[in-house]
Amino acid sequence: MKETASQTAGPYLHIGLLPNVAGLPMYNGTDPGAALVTGPTDAARITLTLRIFDGAGDAVTDAMVEIWQADGAGHIPSQDADFTGWGRATADPETGLIRFETVKPGPVAGQAPHVTLWIAARGINLALHTRAYFAGDDGQDTDPVLSRIDPPARRETLMARQDGDTWHLDIRLQGDAETVFLDI
């Protein structure tokens, strides 16, 4: 059997994937993936913010991003009862900022700490896989994904930068600093 063909999620993905954000009262008022942290976890709480830019340098304000990550101890799926590991959010319709309240993942066996990102939007025919790493973390030199990136300078496109408890990553769909997307 062959995999079913992908199609764009289109401009109205919000009503299907984040209906409460889109103004449809569904599912007892809670969108799937709205909260990653569900209790007083021992892991380090962080805010992960993203912005996505198109080839003209404009922020993509209609995208949906899902994240999937290890818990603070590096277990994937999470073994932390207060942490789901999976989140879903949409870009702010004005600024394009995407925000996740999550935890700093621990290193998954053999890999540097990272968050898997999955991006769907109008104009994206096959949703895009990429990752956010945390600039300065140990283990990046031997990480199996980062070490495949050639030229190595493009690794920088996956490095979130820290500002207090917030880590931020810009994702560029095109241009000189085009983000490394993963064929996975």
Binding site: M1, K2, E3, T4, A5, S6, Q7, T8, A9, G10, Y12, L13, H14, I15, G16, P19, A22, G23, L24, M26, Y27, N28, P32, G33, D54, G55, V60, E66, W68, I76, P77, T84, G85, V108, A109, Q111, T116, W118, A121, R122, G123, I124, N125, L126, A127, L128, H129, R131, P144, V145, R148, L173, Q174, E178, T179, V180, F181, L182, D183, I184
Partner: protein
Amino acid sequence: MRRPLKPRVRGNHPPALHPDYRTTVLRSPRLAPLSMPSTLSEETGPVFGHDMLGPVDADLTRNFGNDDPIGERIIVLGHVHDETGRPVPDALIEVWQANAGGRYRHRKDGYLAPLDSGFGGCGRCMTDADGAYAFRTVRPGPYPWPNGGNDWRPAHIHFSLFGASFGQRLVTQMYFEGDPHIALCPIVQSIPDPVAIERLTARLDMEATIPMDARAYRFDIVLRGRRATPFEGQP
């Protein structure tokens, strides 16, 4: 225990850049994606329980407002398998669509067709142990969209699927057999393989049609394969 993902067959999918679908011009990565074997991060994924579903989540004719929606009542059903032919149980399927007039309940949809007080256009269900799923809705209408010309989307329902691993995640659209707009739509025709388009086209299923109630359309879905033999190994 790990189940590595089989490599994705790119020819199954539309290329990132398809200029006839104008929005892809500025939103398509231009560099080749990085080839890599799957890691635990893609071989695992969120697990959902059937207990998350409310009693009318899978009935779009009843899960919004107090009125009955206008339009042709239909059931959409099928099976979810992976590329190795195994059923995918407990797969969360989320759907969204326009109403019978071709209008989405979305703040950015300004099409002149009216909203329907009995229709939200959003629902979800999960596959059973055999990979079977079903939901009830109304047949969505076709609608025009801004793409530079006189472009109309064929009637369609958006699907989002989770398999057993995050690397199997899929978003697609289901079309209806006999719709002349399938052959005219730049989004559909971004798929290079006509057979793949055929497989996105649901067929009338008279056996599953409920007499004096709702016609049924069958849409079977295939997610990416995971290797048949789990193995212990390095990441």
